[in-house]
């Protein structure tokens, strides 16, 4: 892992998390930084436990929710929750991408394309999946260069599991605008990922 789970930054005490969230939300870069590494570490720990089979397998969203449940200690401040999820979305993206990179590096030969499943099932391949995830990550960076907000929307929704209705107040735009944003971002990403009918150049 490129990020050591035992980072040299001290754990904020559990009752500090609300303060930290508040500071981060009010724009303190240091608080945001600390919050990020804290959330990253927490999610990472949960993911590791999953990998060792210590806990029921549950997917990324459930991890984010579990981390929030654990860290929030009953904070009911709506803005805190939103801010936490936005941060967690970023951390989760990082974790998943790191893991996909590692697995790709492990795979000798590399670059194996998916052999598809049939009409019985959706076609998602584990090795192909990593490649897809990495491609998505790259496309998301491209999108961010064009339109930061769209990329954020995707990050929060896809990696963080937030609903559009939860993202709207966070980005201070209407849900309607966000729906259009999501549709446009989705089209952009699918186009970048070369699905549909790519040009044969």
């Amino acid at each position: 892992m490129p990020h050591n789970p035992r980072m040299n930054m001290s754990d904020p005490a559990n009752d500090d998390i609300t303060l930290l969230l508040g500071d981060a939300r009010r724009g303190s870069a240091l608080a945001q930084e600390r919050l990020y590494s804290f959330v990253y570490r927490e999610l990472h720990r949960l993911a590791e436990r999953q990998l060792r089979g210590d806990r029921e397998h549950g997917g990324a969203t459930s991890l984010v929710h579990e981390a929030w449940f654990k860290l929030s200690r009953g904070s009911t401040e709506f803005n805190d929750r939103q801010h936490f999820f936005a941060t967690a979305a970023r951390a989760m993206r990082q974790i998943l991408i790191d893991r996909a990179r590692e697995r790709q590096a492990d795979r000798r030969g590399g670059g194996v394309r998916a052999q598809t499943l049939d009409g019985v099932a959706l076609e998602v391949s584990a090795s192909g999946q990593d490649l897809e995830l990495l491609a998505l990550n790259q496309a998301l960076d491209q999108l961010a260069a064009l339109d930061e907000r769209l990329a954020q929307v995707v990050e929060m929704r896809f990696f963080g599991g937030l609903e559009l209705s939860e993202i709207a107040p966070l980005l201070k735009v209407s849900e309607r605008t966000l729906k259009r944003d999501w549709r446009r971002a989705r089209a952009f990403l699918y186009q970048s990922l070369g699905s549909g009918a790519p040009p044969p150049e």
Binding site: Q50, L51, R52, G53, H57, G58, G59, A60, T61, L63, M92, I95, L96, R99, V112, R113, A114, Q115, T116, L117, D118, G119, V120, A121, L122, E123, V124, S125, A126, S127, G128, Q129, E132, L133, L136, Q142, A145, L146, D147, V154, F158, G161, R180, R183, R184, R186, A187, F188, L189, Y190, Q191, L193, G194, S195, G196, A197, P198, P199, P200, E201
Partner: protein, 510 residues
């Protein structure tokens, strides 16, 4: 979008947001208008809209995509197979890469097995059906069955030849295949499909993901999961547990979408769509991917000639062989993807044969739809046939104008203009070869009946005017443009107006 240009993206975004809300003809019309204004922008918007139509991609499977953060829970296969790693998983099944314990080093297979809890009778039956089908087939370009068995925990599995490769379209792009190489490759796929047909097996799900090309450039047909044995009544199996018919919207033949009996013609269609995509970089039809709307969509769709599909400005550079599509390749492709099954190639072999004839410069067998046939289709599409039985072409076109005339009161000058246009259209219709665009524009015009908005009619007339201008009929084009302006009169649409102005200045230069 190749370069990060936020200003340009903002323009693309605005047009995308506007046009993606439109449907069917209105969407096409808006794209066509935009293309006249700024072809490159329109091409970008079109590509985005095509991507928007994808209904089943990575972003739709969030949980599944992000789930494998957990370790693979490798199943015990028994039967001399050991699982190496997961290849894919989905709603009901899993595919694992496995190696044979007895078969020597490197003896690998893609093992497909049903998920636990998914062993309903219908699914089991389908699994067994696939096994029976695979057992019939033996062809170098068909991924064959190596073994079949039951896992220790009671799940049936199929071990199939493991193909390392990539989807045919991606392969062609990455390997930079030229026109002839692409055609040759598809002819090989058609051979494999023909082999299956001769064993009475219809694949029914031909699409890039099911045709992988290996490192040596050899195609492999996979996945007979929803294939059917001709003459057997197995169609109820093509319904998933949730009751949705399994098909790949972009590649399914119209009769499949309608749920009708499927024959080898459906695979000919699938091969046609694959080739169309290989040669033009786009699909012949823009389908929304929403199953509930497909039936309506296919009843209205007409495929653009491949040569026209690539001539849209931005594509022209990307498809170096654009000019070679007109003629025989247009004819072959449109025959392969003909909406009526009985007008397609009678077999995959016949398609392969025509492709090879084309490659070797011999005359092909396919003939384009003749003018009278197209006209007949035009009649039946618009339900005018009964009205005009026995009537002349002139009367038909008169009817067309009449329905439009009914829609709005127009002053006599405009009426005269239309009368002239009708004559013009007739003359053009007789010059079949050159009138394809005009015929399409007229089709569209007829499609927008009295209920269409003035703006929609104005757009349709503008297309007629443009088609006339393209055909060198300057005077008629002017008159059609006048009608377009007249129709738009009360509700000027700025985009439309710009396009009208553009055509006008183009006509003025003549």
């Amino acid at each position: 979008m190749s370069t990060a240009d936020p200003a340009r993206w903002a323009r693309v975004s605005a047009e995308f947001d506007r046009i993606v809300e439109l449907e069917g003809d209105a969407r096409e019309a808006a794209l066509a208008l935009l293309a006249e204004e700024e072809a490159a922008l329109a091409a970008e918007v079109r590509a985005l809209i095509a991507a928007d139509a994808q209904s089943d991609g990575l972003l739709e499977h969030r949980e599944e995509t992000l789930a494998p953060i957990a370790a693979d829970q490798r199943p015990e296969l028994g039967g001399g197979w050991r699982v190496i790693e997961a290849i894919g998983r989905g709603g009901m099944g899993e595919v694992w890469l496995a190696e044979s314990l007895g078969g020597g080093v490197g003896h690998r297979a893609a093992v497909k097995l049903l998920k636990r809890g998914m062993d309903s009778d219908a699914l089991l039956e389908r699994f067994l059906q696939e096994r029976r089908i695979l057992a019939r087939l033996s062809h170098p370009a068909i991924a064959g069955m190596l073994d079949a068995g039951i896992t220790p925990d009671g799940r049936p599995f199929l071990a199939m030849e493991f193909i390392r490769g990539e989807p045919i379209t991606a392969y062609a792009r990455r390997a930079g295949l030229g026109l002839t190489a692409r055609i040759r490759l598809l002819a090989e796929v058609a051979d494999a499909v023909d082999h299956a047909h001769r064993q009475l097996v219809v694949h029914r799900d031909l699409k890039p993901g099911n045709v992988l090309v290996d490192e040596e450039g050899k195609p492999h047909l996979l996945d007979f999961g929803i294939a059917k044995v001709l003459g057997e009544d197995t169609d109820q199996l093509v319904v998933t547990a949730t009751g949705v018919r399994v098909l790949s919207p972009a590649y399914a033949a119209p009769e499949q979408v309608r749920g009708e009996d499927v024959s080898v013609a459906a695979d000919v269609y699938g091969l046609g769509v694959l080739l169309y995509e290989l040669l033009t970089g786009r699909l012949p039809h823009q389908r929304s991917g929403r199953v509930e709307r497909l039936a309506q969509e296919i009843s209205e769709e007409r495929a653009l000639r491949p040569s026209s599909a690539v001539s849209e400005a931005a594509r022209a550079q990307a498809v170096p062989w654009a000019r070679r599509l007109a003629g025989d390749l247009d004819t072959i492709l449109l025959k392969a993807i003909h909406p009526e099954a009985e007008r397609r190639y009678a077999s995959a072999a016949a398609l392969a044969d025509d492709l090879r004839r084309y490659l070797s410069g011999r005359p092909i067998h396919a003939r384009p739809d003749r003018g009278w046939y197209r006209f007949g289709k035009f009649l039946s599409r618009h339900r005018l046939a009964t009205v005009v039985t026995g009537a002349s072409l002139v009367l038909l076109l008169g009817t067309l104008g009449w329905s439009l005339g009914q829609a709005r009161t127009a002053h006599s000058e405009a009426l005269a203009a239309r009368a002239l246009l009708r004559q013009q259209a007739l003359a053009m219709a007789q010059v079949e070869a050159r009138s394809a665009t005009l015929a399409r524009a007229l089709d569209e015009l007829a499609g927008i009946d009295a209920r269409g908005s003035p703006v929609a009619r104005a757009r349709a007339w503008l297309r007629v005017a443009t088609a006339l201008a393209d055909a060198g009929q300057v005077d008629s084009a002017r008159r059609a443009l006048a009608v377009s302006r007249e129709q738009a009169g009360a509700n000027p649409d700025p985009v439309l107006e710009r396009a009208q102005d553009q055509l006008e200045s183009r006509l003025a230069r003549r």
